[in-house]
């Protein structure tokens, strides 16, 4: 009450007393203190997330500069040049493999006809002569490429040594030790002259290539007649492929002629070589490649398998528990499934190595299972094993969230459906599931987020082979070992030199994972918000 008020209305004993002295801490009332405390907690959470993001960016961002530098040396030291030459040799190897495959098919057909292996091999003698001649033709080219490989890597080593020395000198200078700094001799590499030795072999390479081409042409004019007629068309196809291959030689030479040692490497090249690079090759004597594709594909494959298994299981269980199960079953099943998420993933991974991998492989070797694509497989640890275990991890997430979504469908929908003469199954499939679909989809997305970020299980069970599986084998690709984005960070982070390009590459992989997880969560939230049913 203000004094002005008491002037107009004289205070009486029963006056309107609503003022009270409040306890204050640092000038804040208790209510304000509580508000500050909770607000402060929220701020800390936001700040920590911000710091993590910032740290990831700071550590990762330098990667692209360093990678660009690495690519520049790759070009200037002539490694790129030699790799162009190597393509010829590599394609020849691929063709030889095709030839082996033909032989294997023929051999299988012959032994199936009742011949012993020795007899079959004898029948294939003419073919073997042919394939030896074909394989030997490359020897001169291979020898040349091999020599040049050594030359180029010597130049690169020199450049690396010079770089190291330069850093050493700079460090001395920074520390003020001028005498020591002067003692460090830096042998600058003159890339132009050094690489002359490599590019100078071009005329010789051209000659070799011409000879090689003629030799191949000569070899394939006279195709051997296989004892198995049905394989003969493949041999015809092989001849065609060889001719195409030889016809590509001039292109190869042209690329070598147009190769510019000092063409600048754009920064975008550094970026694309990471995002679209198909090789993750570290600590190589030749050239390190940081291409994320094999890891990304690996992560994607195990996640696909996991969701393929976990979505029907999780959603099915959610529908059952919410719509069909008796209260007693509900009380039993719900905690049981939710308990799965309490199992530490390293224990699951251990189980995968010790049990599941072996069991799956044994199962794949049963005669009765041979119709499954990719069966039988030899690798115990592969994408399938890891995917199965990840499914176990995803099921509780999907189940809990989907059950929640289904539970949110108003009972009135169910009653209305029954009152129209729908059966229980019709009600579930046509009313309950569509009405909760947004919730189910977001449950699946969050399950995916859980799976793609999971590390321990994939590290232990995915087989850790850094290569894109051979998708030409169809579904069998899923039975091959893979490596994942999470797995590679866990595996390699402990061994890299801090600040090196490899270290930073791992951070960029981490960043990529972070963004994938962020996108998934964002989408899940958006779907739930957009399609939440308004109950009229």
């Amino acid at each position: 009450m203000s004094s002005a008020n008491s002037d107009t209305a004289p205070a009486s004993p029963g006056t309107f007393l609503i003022q009270k002295e409040r306890t204050r801490f640092f000038g804040l009332t208790l209510d304000e203190c509580i508000k500050t405390f909770f607000g402060g907690n929220a701020v800390v959470a936001v700040v920590v997330l911000g710091l993590i993001t910032l740290f990831l960016f700071r550590e990762g961002a330098d990667f692209f500069g360093q990678n660009r530098e690495s690519l520049r040396v790759y070009r200037q030291a002539g490694l790129e040049y030699v790799d162009i030459m190597r393509e010829t040799e590599r394609d020849h190897t691929a063709l030889t493999r095709y030839l082996f495959d033909i032989r294997l098919q023929a051999l299988k057909a012959l032994t199936a006809d009742g011949l012993s292996v020795a007899e079959a091999n004898a029948k294939l003698a003419a073919f073997d002569d042919f394939s030896y001649a074909y394989g030997d033709a490359v020897l001169n080219v291979r020898g040349l490429v091999s020599d040049l490989t050594e030359a180029a890597s010597a130049i690169k080593t020199k450049a690396n040594v010079a770089d190291d020395r330069r850093i050493e000198r700079d460090q001395y200078l920074a520390a003020g030790m001028t005498a020591e700094a002067a003692a460090v001799t830096v042998e600058d590499v003159d890339f132009a002259t050094e690489v002359k030795a490599i590019t100078g072999t071009l005329p010789f390479y051209k000659d070799e290539l011409t000879n090689f081409g003629t030799e191949l042409e000569r070899v394939v004019t006279e195709l051997p007649v296989l004892p198995v007629p049905e394989v003969q068309p493949r041999l015809e196809r092989f001849r065609q492929l060889t001719r195409q291959y030889v016809a590509g030689f001039p292109d190869n030479v042209e690329r070598l002629e147009n190769w510019d040692q000092f063409a600048p490497v754009p920064l975008s090249r550094s970026f694309t070589s990471f995002i679209f690079g198909t090789q993750w090759l570290t600590a190589s004597f030749w050239q390190d490649w940081y291409g994320v594709v094999p890891l990304f594909v690996g992560s994607l494959m195990v996640s696909t398998i996991a969701l393929f298994i976990a979505v029907p299981l999780g959603v099915g269980a959610a529908v059952y528990v919410n719509q069909i199960a008796s209260p007693r079953e509900q009380r039993f099943i719900k905690p049981f499934i939710e308990f799965i998420s309490a199992i530490p993933s390293v224990v699951l991974g251990f189980f995968g190595i010790a049990m599941l991998g072996t069991a799956l492989r044994a199962m794949s070797q049963w005669e009765a299972m041979s119709w499954v694509p990719g069966f039988p497989f030899a690798e115990r640890l592969n994408a399938l094993t890891a995917g199965c275990l990840l499914a176990v991890i995803a099921v509780p997430t999907i189940f809990t969230l989907a059950e929640d979504a289904i539970n949110n469908v108003p009972r009135a929908f169910k009653e209305a459906s029954f009152a129209l003469g729908a059966s229980r199954l019709q009600t579930i499939l046509r009313i309950i599931v569509p009405a909760s679909l947004s919730g189910i989809v977001s449950a699946v997305l969050l399950g995916l987020g859980r799976v793609i970020g999971e590390t321990m299980v994939v590290l232990l069970c995915a087989g850790n082979r850094i290569a894109i599986p051979d998708f030409t084998e169809g579904l069998a690709a899923f039975m091959q070992p893979v490596h994942t984005m999470t797995g590679i960070i866990a595996q390699e982070m402990g061994e890299v030199v801090r600040g090196s390009i490899h270290y930073r590459a791992l951070f960029v992989v981490g960043l990529l994972l972070f963004f994938i997880a962020l996108t998934i969560n964002f989408l899940a939230q958006k779907i739930v918000r957009k399609y939440r049913i308004s109950v009229g």
Partner: protein, 289 residues
């Protein structure tokens, strides 16, 4: 209302013999134009109903007539909704419910009989709920749903039924331009009429209405009541209501329930003007309930 006087009310649940002896022969005196009007359609015969151990209906005995509107009135918890839900076996969805004594017959078929498929029953006995509950689908699909679950998916067939049902529910003119918009976008009264349209689309014989207007404003209520008048030409309607004015306005027959017992069942006019039971009189005159 020709046959009305033939019905006797059960004043006390124990006094069942009085009702049994006073069974009418309504068909004999029926001279109405619509076929079957006033004939006994649903025969509720001395029913005791339980939720688990708790008895909710005590010896309810009543015959409901074809192509008439019968209103169930009574204070909350008197069992009127329970009885309504017995008629299409919606109570089956609740665990532990059972009719322990008596039977309910529709056209002389015991609907709790061993061979009865509740799904088939519910196709013949439709239901409109207290809260309008259209599915989160388009207006068209809301109505087509009842047909689709029966495997009737032919477009021309569906189009025809959708239009006919919407016209039947006096909703066609309001929604004909937005059939493919969500049913949840309609106003409360329109939603309730959509639910009625959905119910008549599967052409049931009986429509059960569980307080269909309790969530509606007076104008929407008036529209639904008008609709009930129209619908009784084709359907037998049983309506549970808390509003005595509504019962008086739109029903032909009224049953008054109290504490799980049927107190009085008679012509609506009689119930409201001159009830024979003092409890009924107390309730309809607003002295309790």
């Amino acid at each position: 209302m020709v046959t009305s006087s033939n019905f006797q009310s059960t004043t006390a649940p124990m006094d069942s013999s009085a009702t049994t002896t006073g069974r009418p022969a309504p068909k004999a005196s029926a001279a109405a134009p619509a076929p079957g009007i006033g004939r006994t359609l649903i025969d509720i015969d001395h029913v005791d109903f339980y939720y688990g151990a708790k008895q909710a209906l005590f010896d309810v005995n009543v015959k409901l007539e074809e192509k008439r509107v019968t209103a169930f009135i009574g204070p909350s918890g008197c069992g009127k909704s329970t009885l309504l839900r017995c008629l299409n076996r919606m109570n089956d969805l609740i665990d532990g419910t059972a009719i322990r004594k008596g039977s309910i017959k529709i056209r002389d078929v015991d609907i709790y009989g061993r061979d009865v498929d509740p799904i088939e029953l519910r196709k013949r006995v439709g239901m409109v709920f207290q809260k309008s509950n259209p599915f989160p689908k388009s207006i068209y699909e809301n109505i087509a749903y009842g047909l689709r679950i029966q495997g009737r998916n032919k477009k021309s067939d569906l189009d025809e039924v959708v239009e006919k049902s919407l016209r039947g529910a006096a909703l066609w003119d309001e929604v004909k331009d937005r059939l493919h918009e969500s049913g949840l976008g309609l106003s409360g009264g329109q939603q309730q009429r959509l639910c009625i349209a959905r119910t008549i689309a599967v052409s049931p014989e009986v429509i059960l209405m569980d307080e269909p207007c309790s969530a509606l404003d007076p104008i929407a209520t008036a529209k639904v009541e008008e609709l009930i008048h129209e619908l009784k030409k084709e359907f037998t309607i049983i309506i549970v209501t808390h509003s005595m004015q509504q019962a008086a306005r739109c029903s032909d027959k009224t049953a008054f329930f109290y504490m799980g017992q049927l107190i009085e069942y008679d012509d609506t006019k009689k119930i409201f003007m001159n009830p024979s039971n003092p409890q009924t009189e107390a309730y309809v005159s607003g002295r309790f309930g």
